[in-house]
């Protein structure tokens, strides 16, 4: 019997690697002679061995690809409706995360006293506290938004995030060492770090809305310079490393305090140790955010994850933006935690 060609609709494809994954599954079936995925149109063109009922084929294929979060159908699934329903679940999920985060800030649990000399151990503990503090709003928010966005675009590999975190640790160590050596302030210029913080919060808000898919039709993108820089992160080694080093200059009270400690430590090695262990302390939470994004993005909960992350990131971005504007004196403080 002759083979027949079908055009099927597929939903749940959120990344470039989805194409490869689905085509692999299609190739694995004997009755599929040829399978091509078109991500843009969200269709699959398949050539099926003669004598097979298309309904049967769809049932078999769906049983194979559903665990990965995709659905094949003859008719196009009302996409808008589905994505709206996910959004209505994502909003409370994201808000719960935000409420817990700000409650943690307000509770004062993080204000525990660490006295005495700044040693590697205290630096490490302060790093852990910092990674749970309001600094997370900027540094963590940025990490989450970039991780989720890059992963959604199909470029989120473990290697990329390892490079980012390695760059961060390396940058903190070296810059901390330099601080100890020269005993002078670099990166402690308030206005510079405040402006950097404002840019970071704008990036978060834009990426957050992008993750929410609010601007599906008319995607807003970041200013081309910044965006192409992050885009390059997919291909180049130095981009994630540089972003990692750059987090040294983001506004964070804890980072600034530790920079002062490194500054007054008096030697390259002691400054290096203080900043390295501080960065090491922040690593667990930040690593969880970035590697968590990758594993969620490859699960069937990917759409919910991206949208919830979008809500969290927009919330943190707004918080950082309003705080930052009050910090540079453009607006009056609207709130105080």
């Amino acid at each position: 019997m002759e083979n027949r060609k079908y055009t099927l609709h597929v939903s749940g494809t959120h990344c470039a690697s989805c194409k490869i994954l689905i085509e692999d599954i299609l190739d694995g079936e004997d009755f599929v002679k040829d399978g091509q995925v078109n991500l843009k149109k969200e269709i699959i063109e398949v050539e099926i061995e003669g004598g097979k009922n298309i309904e049967e084929v769809i049932t078999i294929l769906n049983s194979k690809i559903k665990p990965n979060g995709y659905t094949i159908s003859v008719e196009k699934i009302a996409r808008e409706k589905e994505s709206n329903n996910i959004l209505w679940t994502a909003i409370p999920v994201g808000l719960v995360v935000l409420v817990l985060f700000f409650l943690l800030q307000k509770s004062g649990i993080l204000n525990l006293g660490i006295g005495g000399e700044t040693t590697p151990v205290t630096s490490f503990i302060i790093g852990i506290i910092a990674s749970l503090s309001s600094c997370l709003a900027i540094v963590g928010g940025l990490v989450l938004s970039l991780s989720a966005k890059v992963t959604q675009d199909g470029g989120g590999t473990k290697k990329l995030f390892i490079l980012f975190h390695a760059g961060r640790l390396f940058g903190f160590a070296i810059l901390g060492g330099i601080l100890g050596l020269i005993g002078q302030a670099i990166g402690i210029n308030f206005l510079f770090s405040a402006i950097l913080g404002l840019i970071a919060s704008l990036v978060m808000i834009i990426l957050g809305f992008n993750l929410l898919g609010v601007f599906k039709k008319n995607k807003i993108t970041l200013p081309s310079g910044i965006f192409s820089f992050f885009r390059k992160a997919e291909h180049e080694i130095w981009a994630p490393v540089l972003v990692g080093i750059g987090t040294f200059f983001l506004p964070c009270g804890f980072t600034q305090s530790m920079q002062i400690s490194a500054l007054s430590s008096g030697s390259f090695m002691s400054g290096l140790m203080i900043m390295f262990f501080f960065a090491l302390g922040t690593l667990p939470v930040l690593a969880l955010l970035s590697f968590g994004s990758v594993s969620f993005a490859n699960s069937k909960h990917a759409p919910l994850f991206f949208k919830s992350a979008g809500i969290v990131v927009v919330g943190l971005g707004l918080f950082a933006l309003l705080s930052g504007l009050a910090g540079v004196g453009i607006i009056n403080p609207l709130f105080s935690l």
Binding site: T89, N111, S134, C135, G253, S257, I260, P333
Partner: protein, 142 residues
Amino acid sequence: MTKNKIPLIIITFGLIIALGFIFFGGSKGKGNIKNEQLGDNNKETEQVSNIEMKDGIQYITINAKGGYLPRISTAKAGIPTKLIVKTNNTYDCSASLVMRSIDYQKVLEKTGEEVVDLGTPEVGPFQGTCGMGMYNFQVNFK
């Protein structure tokens, strides 16, 4: 699906209200009269405890750790005034003190007292924030 939506919407509103409380619940001027009176009383006690006259100079003391306390104080205008910012193992944002109106910014020592000369303040509010801006305090000069 619409059945599932209603509880989700209710939860969403609840969470938004919770966020509102976190951000604005502690601030003045909101809530009922009773709360406002309480707030005024608090201010009164703060006023007694954190303003001190010594050798003709008015000293205002603010504690910086996980925010600034008291957040709002009232002091006399028109007399020489110094601000004392106390830190006690302060690593968080409140250690990076910014006071725009007098062009002051500094990362304070972890533990210590920073004395800032405010000159002779005029009538009106005086504001300080931390470097990232999420903590702030205000001194009303009357």
